[in-house]
């Protein structure tokens, strides 16, 4: 070609956008940014502002400073249990349900008989909303009319699966994991399918056994999937709400931060200031995870 002008990277001047380009870009970028501000950041900042006030949603707004926070931490018996339950939920999903999902994915990926069938069955609960899982849990674990107690035939002294404050959170976490495991399994299956078989062959030639192959070769190549699964697990644990709400409105051993927020803000109580303070606590916890994740990602991106 005659026009073979050598390009020098780094010294190119920025392309000038025509006016029309600028307008189009401005509009196309502006709409999502505006929506983001109005729908996400506006309410977030409003919540933070309201958390320093006392407001019932109707009358005047009274400034109370840090009183709400003081009350949340010191005078609200449901708060610390809720924090504990949220942390427990996260640990349970992260250390039990997620690894179990990975385990199933690996099994199916190695090719068991009827793998399609297993895949479908384990994935099935994912299509259910967690509220429905809560209803199913009630049918199975109900005190008087539940399936389990009927089978155990312990009418005199029934096990109160959902009413006993020491038991019910575990039952709920098992029910939530039932769904979470299938979700994680599908993600890992997709990831495993994309692992280059040559890697495994190379590892085998180098004399690695099956376990070494998996942990030293296959698992590290799943890094992108791991990140996604990690994020999903954290989100699922922090936003857990519908399943406990369906069972007993998130009371009596099933307190979660999300439930406390709705109870105070949305219900007849209308303690909007107080509820906002709890919401800010949850926001802070979530931001902690998000910032950690972003830092990791950016650092990873630089290294790659």
């Amino acid at each position: 070609m005659a026009l073979n002008i050598p390009r020098r990277a780094g010294r190119r001047r920025l392309r000038r956008f025509s006016r029309r380009d600028t307008v189009v870009l401005g509009v196309l970028l502006g709409i999502p940014v505006l929506l983001d501000i109005v729908i996400v950041w506006g309410p977030t900042l409003a919540s933070i502002g309201l958390s320093f006030t006392s407001w019932d949603g109707v009358g005047d707004i009274h400034w109370v400073g840090g009183d709400n926070y003081k009350n949340v931490f010191e005078n609200y018996p449901a708060f610390w249990p809720a924090v504990r339950h949220n942390v427990l939920w996260l640990l349970f999903l992260g250390l039990i349900a997620t690894p179990f999902g990975l385990f199933l994915a690996v099994l199916i990926d190695r090719g068991v008989r009827f793998s399609r069938f297993y895949q479908s069955v384990i994935y099935l609960p994912v299509v259910l909303s967690l509220a429905i899982v809560g209803f199913i849990a009630q049918l199975i674990l109900g005190t008087d009319q539940g399936v389990v107690n009927t089978i155990l035939n312990n009418h005199e002294n029934p096990i109160d699966w959902l009413g006993d404050a020491h038991l019910n959170i575990w039952m709920m976490m098992i029910a939530a994991s039932w769904r979470h495991t299938g979700y994680v399994m599908i993600l890992y299956l997709a990831g495993l399918k994309s692992v280059d078989p040559q890697l495994k062959e190379a590892a085998a030639i180098d004399g690695a056994n099956a376990r070494q192959t998996f942990f030293r070769v296959v698992f590290p190549t799943l890094r992108p999937v791991n990140v996604i699964v990690g994020v999903i697990t954290v989100i699922e644990a922090l936003r857990a709400f519908d399943i406990v709400y369906a069972v007993n409105k998130g009371r009596n051993g099933l307190e979660l931060l999300s439930v406390l927020i709705t109870d105070n803000i949305i219900g007849e109580a209308s303690r909007i200031g107080f509820g906002s303070a709890i919401a800010v606590v949850l926001l802070t916890v979530s931001l902690g995870f998000i910032v950690t994740f972003l830092v990791q990602e950016l650092r990873g991106a630089r290294e790659r």
Partner: protein, 422 residues
Amino acid sequence: MSRRNLLRGAAVGAGALTLPVLLSACGNGPGGNKNEVTVGSNASDPVPKKAYAAAFSAYEKKSGKKVKVNTKDHNDFQENINRYLQGTPDDVFMWFAGYRMQYFAEKGLLHEISDVWSGFTGFSDALKEQSTHSGKQYFVPYYYYPWAVFHRKSLFQSKGYQQPKTWDDFIALAKQMSKDGTPVAFCDKDGWPAMGTFDYINMRLNGYDFHKSLMAGAEAWTDAKVKNVFDTWREVMPYYQKGALGRTWEEAGQSLQQRKTGMAVFGMPHPGTQFPENERDDIDFFAFPEIDPQYAQDAVEAPIDGFLVAKKSKNLDGAKALLKWLGTPTAENTYLALDPNNVAVNDGADTTKYSALQKKSAQLVSGAKQISQFMDRDTRPDFASTVMIKAIQDFIGNPKDVDGLCNSIERQKKTIFSSPVG
């Protein structure tokens, strides 16, 4: 920052919060239709729903106006009441008497209907007081149902149980029932059923006035009187069904029907709706037993349901015309013909068609020296729902630690009652 602007800002921001309002805003168009009255109904259960439909169609026939009923799930309606009243409420809506109504009147969300009230006949002074807030009437009572101890007549006969009059006899009976394998039915998964037992023990021990002022936040929960209520309640705990916190009121009602339990502290519709029609005659009750002779069995817990007009009602004249009719004996007769689990509030209502149970309920209430509403209707909604539900459930789960519980309630009460209403 003016309230209006903030509200507007909040409305934009709180899309999620306003959603229920948007969903329920299927009323009439701007200005409203003068020949149509909309009614917000929380009667989502089949029996009352049918009975209300009959009552409203009777009004349509009589007045030639249309009544459009928007029924929402009972609990959802209560949860969303604040936003409902500030959004686009129906002209008339169903609600409860007492503090739970006065709270919204205080906030300026209701329309006063003193002029409608002046035309009413057959309502007692007690009813008028329950419908009034600072000298103005807001509420049209429609029916009530008493709380008492319910049981099956046939079970008592076959086992030779006697209806107890005093607390000691009551405990002895509970003990016997527990021994016979039919313990006392008990449930509190829903958070409110056990409140009835608390209220009754409180009123029997400390009297109605104490209940009233305790609910109004004027008494200390750390008072020995309150601790005494919990201590007294603990006496009956061993004879309850196990696993109360995992049991709904429907399940407890069914256990009574299936003769698996002996008796239960309930409101009249609770066992009533769980018994098949041909077994309803077998339901009987006795007034909650006497603990302190000074207060005997004076107070009866009998929550009143009725109607209110929202401040933002579009068709005020239509709403008032409907209320005027709803306050008549005819209107109550129409309703009660189809819902045998309640009792009419109007003296002029026809009681000849009453079942034995309804007659007995009417007697119980007319003989009462004071009528209380219910814990969650006699106190502030924010206190009842965020503090008391958990407190009572905690007590049921761990009946030992009364001191810690009362201290915790008192601390929370102070913060909640210090924030003004309105």
